[in-house]
Chain length 222, copies 2
Amino acid sequence: MQTPSQISSVNHPKFQIEVDVVVFTLRENRLQVLLCCLQMNDSWRLPGLPLQADSTLEETAAHCITQYTGLHEAYLEQLYTYYDSCEQIASVVYFALVPADSLLNAKDESASKWFPVDDLPALAPNHKEILTYALRRLRYKLEYSAVGFELLPDDFTLSELQFTYELILGEKLDKRNFRRRILQAGVIESTPHRRTGEGRPAQLYRYRPDAVAEVKARRLFP
Amino acid sequence: MQTPSQISSVNHPKFQIEVDVVVFTLRENRLQVLLCCLQMNDSWRLPGLPLQADSTLEETAAHCITQYTGLHEAYLEQLYTYYDSCEQIASVVYFALVPADSLLNAKDESASKWFPVDDLPALAPNHKEILTYALRRLRYKLEYSAVGFELLPDDFTLSELQFTYELILGEKLDKRNFRRRILQAGVIESTPHRRTGEGRPAQLYRYRPDAVAEVKARRLFP
DNA sequence: GCAAAAGTGTTACAGTTACACCCATGG
DNA sequence: CCATGGGTGTAACTGTAACACTTTTGC
């Protein structure tokens, strides 16, 4: 047991703090996650950076994403903080989503690689667990907020949006119900453009930046 | 911009890490939160302890609760991690619930005090914001999980349970709908006892420890 | 016997799901 | 003209919300 005197005592050990990021994207019709190769062995880990004294946690996470993907903007959210008492390192894990079409100019492509979430390599201890948790949070979040758009380019068709949802949730959705509901929700608006290709051209939509991104919760329990 | 070389460089500053806890309970028919007096001035803060190298984050939070409330068990959940680049202290905040009847033997009563969440004193910077977030999370969590029982003694009547929900959510609930749903959910079971007092005696119920504590999410969006 | 709190069902309404065909374009 | 993906409405069903009176006890 500790005693109250510890609160203001000088017993204040110091720790390294690392900011790790679980970056998700859509590539090759699969949900993929960014991993770094761990110093020459065949084990992989989440990309991360040590916290610097004058940065914020979120800035550090953003720097990390920029470094590995070349992107300067991403949806970012704090996930969880772990502390490893063996290594005496705390790890603040963020969760990030980057759009499907934006993976062009990573500054250090050799150091990192995308992996489908259902086909992961051997991971550093804890990182498998962290990733599983991040994936659960993504699926869960998709069900009550408009976070799915963060994985799409600015303009998209309703079919692309539905496909994104199906990919993440891992189940087929009904086309008519999906369209009716997403339009009723009022979070997207049509653009003047269409996408041509095979078959009938599709109306392009964009996410309304002024949209309320979360549905108001209905009571689920009890 | 940082460079990839920082990942494996020796540029690893160290930080103090503090574990703070937002402890909620029911007292005097109000939702209350535990606060500590900040060194002789009239400002208050969340109770906290510095992380020790060989403890886990959760252990530290649990120690903190024991110290200020005398309780050895509480519902505990990580809330968020803040980093203050001025003071260079990271603060991992936990969220805790303790039952209404268990506030007996705090070891250091003079150092801390309960405040109703709608009648708070002046707080240390950030702590007001943290508390608001914790309260939001409590209300939100109540809607999809059985977390409300953590604020009640082992045995309780349905009216007490409903009153707890009403207190936290800040709205009246329909008695018949509440009872039907909580019983259908299968998370409580009746005990052989009754509570007597004014009016008709009430059946006592208890939370089923084997109950599934979260409802399976229904799709809310889109 | 009366005050006080416990306990109990039904009906109307709203939201959700399931489902199949026509449309516009490119080759 | 046909293959391909885009786009559209309705009916059954399921879950939710609203609502008032009877029961049991202590005083």
